[in-house]
Symmetry: C2
Subunit: 324 residues, 2 copies
Amino acid sequence: MDMVMSLLEKLNQRLSLATQNSRPEELYNPISYTLSMGGKRIRPMLVLMGCDIFGGDVDKAIDLAMGVEIFHNFTLLHDDIMDGAPVRRGKETVYKKWNSNIAILSGDTMFAIAYEYISHADPGVLPELLRTFTQTARQVCEGQQYDMNFETVSNVSIREYLEMIMLKTGVLIAASMKIGAIAAGAGITEQENIYSFGENLGIAFQLQDDLLDTFGETEKFGKEIGGDIIANKKTFLYVKSMEVANEEQQRALLDLYSKHPSDSTGKIREVREIFSSLNIEEITKKEISYFYSNALYFLDLLDVKEEKKTALRKMASELLDRDF
Amino acid sequence: MDMVMSLLEKLNQRLSLATQNSRPEELYNPISYTLSMGGKRIRPMLVLMGCDIFGGDVDKAIDLAMGVEIFHNFTLLHDDIMDGAPVRRGKETVYKKWNSNIAILSGDTMFAIAYEYISHADPGVLPELLRTFTQTARQVCEGQQYDMNFETVSNVSIREYLEMIMLKTGVLIAASMKIGAIAAGAGITEQENIYSFGENLGIAFQLQDDLLDTFGETEKFGKEIGGDIIANKKTFLYVKSMEVANEEQQRALLDLYSKHPSDSTGKIREVREIFSSLNIEEITKKEISYFYSNALYFLDLLDVKEEKKTALRKMASELLDRDF
């Protein structure tokens, strides 16, 4: 695992240099800007870990990790246009700093660059890697579309919500691990188990993100609390609340989620009060635990050394910051 | 060649069915709409011809042809957002009929689908195909960026203009033929020659498009004459005119190209008059002939049967509608 961490540093360097001298600079400056922004680099870490636990050559998987991270950043870049998000990781988003056209085209170019890195894989595993990567890319787009659909429908079910975050977040986390596994030459069953581990971990991770956005601490969460409420975003907390609320509470939530007050302090407090009265924090934690346990179940099925499983368990618990 | 034509019909059917039952329909309906719209299908035809002339299995190249055409249509979809173009092939563009967000995301999905088809290639040629396809995709994005840059600079040189259309149009025409050649197992030299043939043909094709947009006949051209002038687009005709015009003519052109009159009849007439006084129609035809001859030079270098060369020459002359 020390190996993985030192490779991540190398990856960060390579990411910030990847498009440094490419022309035209109007196209590539936003890409360098995006790739130098940092971020937790969770997905490339998972590619490297997926490769490592099956005894693969982690050094050779670094291009795959680059491809996955560049793809992820491309989706963020386009999502920010679609969501009208002005800030990401504390910095102006590309479409705000430049404009939408630049953001569209830089994103498209990043998608191509992502494939460039994926294509560096050993020819023997290339078809399988491409199948996984491309299917995942399509699913992430589908997830974003479902997310956008939710903005205009009033009744989203928990099933629909979970399917959406599975596509939008879960599959890429899962595919990252599977891509590492494929590169290491792991068999189909092992690939499926590590994928299921990642899928469940990814959903738990997104649910936790939903929870922290409303009930977290700014310092720990890294961004302002209440952003989802301000944006009237239909998170797990909202969808679950609408499911278990009485008519009066439903009306109150619908009313609060139809407004964009200039000062949102009161709105955030009122929504949190309704959520709390419905015990939503506990319900969400239980849901997170459910998917976390599922993830650990698939982890246990893996036919790898116990020390590798320990490393995966440690990563999963750190990712979810399991202090509750 | 009859084989190629019958395969193109099959390809049209497959294109319109490719995403018919995919969900969510908000994402896939615009894709089906785009892929059912028709178009000349020049690039997939070139993939199939590139494969055919080198004795490849044309039937197996159809997925590659699909990939190239879906990629091309993805670029049009995003270009239409960036250019604010309301109509394409006589129909509303996706971002007009739906909205920009849908157009961004449907385009992204088409890019992934394009790779899906390219990845169906024989594993033996897959790395080489991916290298060509991905490099081309990046170049097309770079060409679009240069084109957008031209909107805000006053002095574009002929060299810069030709480099832009080479990237934006030439490389995909060239890569289409090369992809077919790679699939057929052609050697490096043959790949390079067919690529150079396509590159020169592509530039000639774009220059002719510039010419017909201003001096063509609506019926033959398939769209209204003068569109480029109305949009103040810096085509070869404009760039060349600015190069050879005297100061008075330059001022007149700059003035005309800074306006958007509600009735553009007078503007189109005046621009055409300046172009004509500078003999631009003849100059452009000579430039087209230059690139056309270059294309034929590389065609002659090909180590294929004479009947295959004849088929390529026929295609090239039909593509350029060489009645001048």
